[in-house]
Symmetry: C2
Subunit: 356 residues, 2 copies
């Protein structure tokens, strides 16, 4: 009965509408079971369908109330997020009282270490705020870290905050990435909007659309392409010219240029093209969802790596190469060690602490 | 920020507590990154942790409000579910008005067929209610159908309703399976309870416990075992005796005897044993969740097979053998057909309509 934006795309293809027409002929009725039923049973099934339609009206109300609840609590979290941001960016120095940890039962280890060094003096050349905070958070998440290339790190060091807002005019949410001055683009905020639309027919089936934003890359700094230079010689003469070709490059910033569902052409796409687009849409939404539900609310746990403890099972099962180890109880200790190394990887990649 | 019971086990191992101690040494700190930070940065991180603790208090309130919301709407759905049940079990015959479909845009195909046969006369020997309704619903779901053996079908034909309740004394829910008289057990209701407990530390991290119930199998009807008979000959003499051995058998009814997390022994389990238990717990919760979130609210769509249209993407990606076809755009049409056949399977298995 639950219906949240969580896992919506994971469970339901955004291409639903386009696919549905085709699927109609594939699933649900191949057995001719329903058609074979006696007339008196068929009319009872229709009665059940009508009952379910009534239920769906209530579900719509439920979703509206749930959206209100989410907005209400986001408002409560907001001042805390702002306080966090001002500490991260060095605009506010927390008081000693604000830095004293009370409920330390969950992170005793770290606590002890801090305790030991309590008398530690501040550096001679003190650091402002918490450098590379958001880059570290993003890189600690196993799924997002895969999207961040080495070239992406420099501009992402300038990321000062990520904010969540719910949309007013429709279901969905907006993520805003705030940037300090940097060499890559003059934009101070990059946004990604996910509009979610409930088709109102089967629980959490939702049709979604992602909107990115333009990034005004500085000359020669566009990370979404690499430039290939080629020398060309004219036939007959000895004249040469240099030809530059831009090739799309992998970058985290393609997050702001999400895949698009073609309106009419979808019907002309073949099964493979649809599946490819579908998995791209899913992956894009997954990243948005991770940022909304995991990174933004629990940023400090991503920064310290603590969040990974809770991710382990997920990571383990998702990142595998497809071999099912459910019933695998032989003594492959070596393999286990390899897995552990894999889990550690993102944390091990956290950048050194450099002064900005 | 969202926190529902959906996918809780999928994302978070129920073994969390047991595993955590071990993981502590594996993740989060291998790089020594946090320790390497200057003292002034470390105290700011503590301030962020305190801010997050405040936020978690609000989240607890949020979850309580969400639970109330869910209960409120389940109450609204209840009369509709009861009406459905009385039609399914033939206790009430719906009126003509109740059987007339208005919003037929989503299932035109089926509608037309029904339209054609509108004048169809009721069978000479009319059927009571909708026979094998719940068995068909369960068998249409790809994940649950895998748990239902041929031997399970007979008793599951006697399944008259599945009801959801939220627990009053803790987070979680109870599923009640109601049975008509049958040859297998005298129990009229079998129950499964999922107690969920929020550890209150990282969003939707939850520790869960499933409770089944005893099934009082009639003599020789216990589906959870098969009996093996063996002739034994006494050495020296020619005396033989017949030895019966019961061997655990696969059955849907083991759903009522869920895996248990050993209290203290968990710490003595090795990595493989823990992983095996973990995936069993996950699988058990997944089934409970499917019944709660999909089967109960949308039973008629499972009966007709319509629900499969919305499941397709999910099924496709989950049920694969691990080969990633994301970038696979060559012309393997034959494979595609094979996949489709797979999708159709559960529906094709729907039983013929027999009178009960």
């Amino acid at each position: 009965m639950e219906n949240t934006t969580e896992n919506i795309f994971a469970n339901n293809p955004a291409l639903l509408n386009a696919i549905q027409g085709r699927l109609g002929s594939l699933v649900g009725r191949p057995s001719g079971y329903i058609e074979s039923l006696p007339a008196e049973v068929k009319r009872r099934i229709n009665a059940l369908k009508n009952i379910q339609s009534e239920q769906l009206k209530y579900e719509k109300e439920y979703r509206a109330e749930l959206a209100e609840l989410e907005k209400k609590y986001l408002k409560k979290y907001q001042p805390l997020f702002e306080k966090r941001s001002s500490i991260v960016n060095g605009n506010v120095e927390p008081t000693d009282a604000e830095c004293e940890r009370e409920d330390s039962d969950m992170d005793e280890d770290v606590e002890e270490k801090v305790e030991e060094k309590k008398e530690e003096k501040p550096s001679a050349d003190p650091v402002k705020g918490i450098p590379e905070f958001w880059l570290t958070c993003l890189k600690t998440n196993p799924i997002i870290s895969e999207l961040i290339t080495e070239r992406d790190e420099e501009p992402l060091k300038a990321l000062t905050d990520i904010k969540l807002e719910y949309l007013d005019d429709s279901d969905g949410f907006k993520l805003s990435f705030f940037f300090d001055k940097n060499e890559y683009f003059p934009d101070t905020v990059l946004t990604k909007i996910y509009r979610l639309e409930n088709t109102g027919d089967y629980g959490n089936i939702i049709d979604g659309k992602a909107e990115g934003c333009d990034i005004h890359w500085n000359e020669g700094k566009n990370l979404t392409v690499t430039v290939e230079t080629k020398k060309q010689r004219r036939k007959g003469t000895n004249q040469t010219r240099i030809i530059k070709r831009t090739i799309p490059a992998e970058t985290f910033f393609s997050f702001f240029n999400p895949p698009v569902i073609p309106e009419d052409e979808a019907l002309e796409m073949d099964e493979d093209e649809m599946q490819e687009l579908d998995s791209k849409l899913e992956a894009d939404y997954e990243v948005g969802e991770i940022i909304k539900d995991k990174i933004i609310p629990y940023a400090v746990d991503w920064f310290t790596g603590k969040a990974l403890e809770f991710e382990e099972a997920d990571f383990d099962s998702d990142e595998y190469d497809g071999y099912d180890d459910e019933e695998d109880d032989d003594d492959d200790d070596d393999d286990d060690d390899a897995d552990n190394a894999k889990i550690n990887e993102p944390a091990a990649q956290t950048p050194e602490c450099k002064q900005q």
